[in-house]
């Protein structure tokens, strides 16, 4: 079962992703409300997620910075970047994100990208 770490500063978004992903058969192994918490949890965890869903605009550390840190620790880590800021796509991809989804998106689009990344 594909495991996921959800990073977003909005509780209602985190809960929403978690509910939908669990319904679709994904294992949500953690959540973080800012980039720094995500990096800290990722670094400390023995059970690394297959996929990270990363928001951009967050307090303390933004999504691009967090993605850079995580990809530096593990260059094969798959990150799906989701942001309401369509202009940040280039930066996100340069930081190491494999996919980009502008908010608002359809959950089917997110699942399609997750399935694509889950396929070896």
């Amino acid at each position: 079962m594909t495991s996921v770490l959800i990073v977003d500063d909005e509780l209602f978004i985190v809960e929403l992703y978690r509910d939908i992903l669990q319904l679709r058969g994904y294992r949500v192994i953690g959540t973080a409300f800012d980039g720094e918490e995500a990096v800290r949890k990722y670094s400390a965890s023995n059970d690394k997620p297959d996929i990270i869903i990363m928001d951009h605009r967050m307090p303390v550390m933004n999504g691009v910075e967090a993605t850079k840190e995580i990809v530096r620790m593990n260059p094969t880590q798959k990150v799906i970047f989701v942001s309401a800021d369509i202009l940040v796509e280039k930066e996100a991809r340069e930081a190491g994100a494999k996919e980009f989804l502008p908010k608002p998106f359809r959950m089917d689009d997110l699942i399609e990208k997750m399935e694509r990344l889950s396929t070896p």
Binding site: E10, F12, I13, L16, D19, I20, R57, A84, D85, I86, L87, P102, K103, P104, F105, R106, M107, D108
Partner: protein
């Protein structure tokens, strides 16, 4: 009390305000859209409730598009987009056509594209996708029917001695308000804005077109306004050799 008395410069804060507002509105839209998706996935959903949910989805997507348009135009005006380069037009048309169906899930939209599969390169940047989408969205929004038929022609054109690719979007059922053909294209914004309706998409499209040296026109299919039908024409600077 004026803004100055607060020691507040609205111009310098406008960009930040728009960014924050856009982010928060789109986040809320994301949540509403996703919950609507969950509702629509319910097995006990009846046809009528599904229709309501689809209409709500359409309205949320339209509001998201308005925010994205504002941010895209501001980015273009602020020189934050890529430089103009030869760009394939047909993938943008295809993408816009697909997005159109997500934007209006409750309507049956048929876009007939001619020619199919040929190459058409224009000078553009990432704004091209949004520009084409806004033209098609307008062609849908001006039509009150549930079954929408848009005829899309992509043809080469010579305009004032310069080579272009022209997209001509025709909807024979769309009703185009006179304000769209008269006031929107004038050099100065109209003083009486109380009749400015259904213009936002076209106004954005026009501003986007200008940032890449393209030109947009809106007209009645038959001059005189007595019969329905509209034509939206977008002239893009051609990058490939004829």
């Amino acid at each position: 009390m004026t803004a100055k008395e607060f020691d507040y410069d609205p111009d310098s804060h406008l960009g930040i305000f728009m960014e924050l507002l856009g982010h928060d509105v789109l986040n809320s839209n994301q949540a509403v859209l996703s919950y609507l998706e969950l509702i629509m996935a319910s097995p006990c959903m009846d046809q009528k409730t599904r229709k309501y949910a689809e209409r709500a989805t359409s309205q949320i997507r339209s509001s998201a598009l308005l925010i994205e348009n504002c941010r895209r135009v501001m980015a273009a005006k602020g020189d934050k987009l890529g430089k103009l380069a030869p760009t394939e037009l047909l993938p943008s048309v295809k993408k816009a056509t697909e997005n159109l169906r997500h934007l209006f899930p409750e309507r049956k939209i048929d876009v007939q594209i001619a020619p199919k599969g040929s190459k058409a390169e224009v000078f553009a940047n990432e704004i091209l996708d949004d520009l084409v989408l806004n033209v098609l969205v307008t062609a849908v929004q001006l039509d009150m029917k549930d079954d929408i038929k848009i005829k899309l022609d992509i043809t080469p054109a010579d305009i004032k001695g310069k080579k272009h690719w022209t997209i001509r979007a025709e909807n024979a059922n769309a009703q185009i308000p006179p304000t769209l053909t008269r006031d929107l294209w004038g050099p100065n914004p109209p003083q009486d804005r109380s009749k400015m309706v259904k213009m936002a998409g076209l106004l954005f499209a026009r501003m986007m077109a200008e940032t890449i040296g393209a030109h947009l026109e809106a007209d009645e299919l038959v001059k005189g306004g007595s019969v329905p039908g509209c034509v939206l024409t977008l002239h893009l600077r051609r990058a490939d050799r004829p």
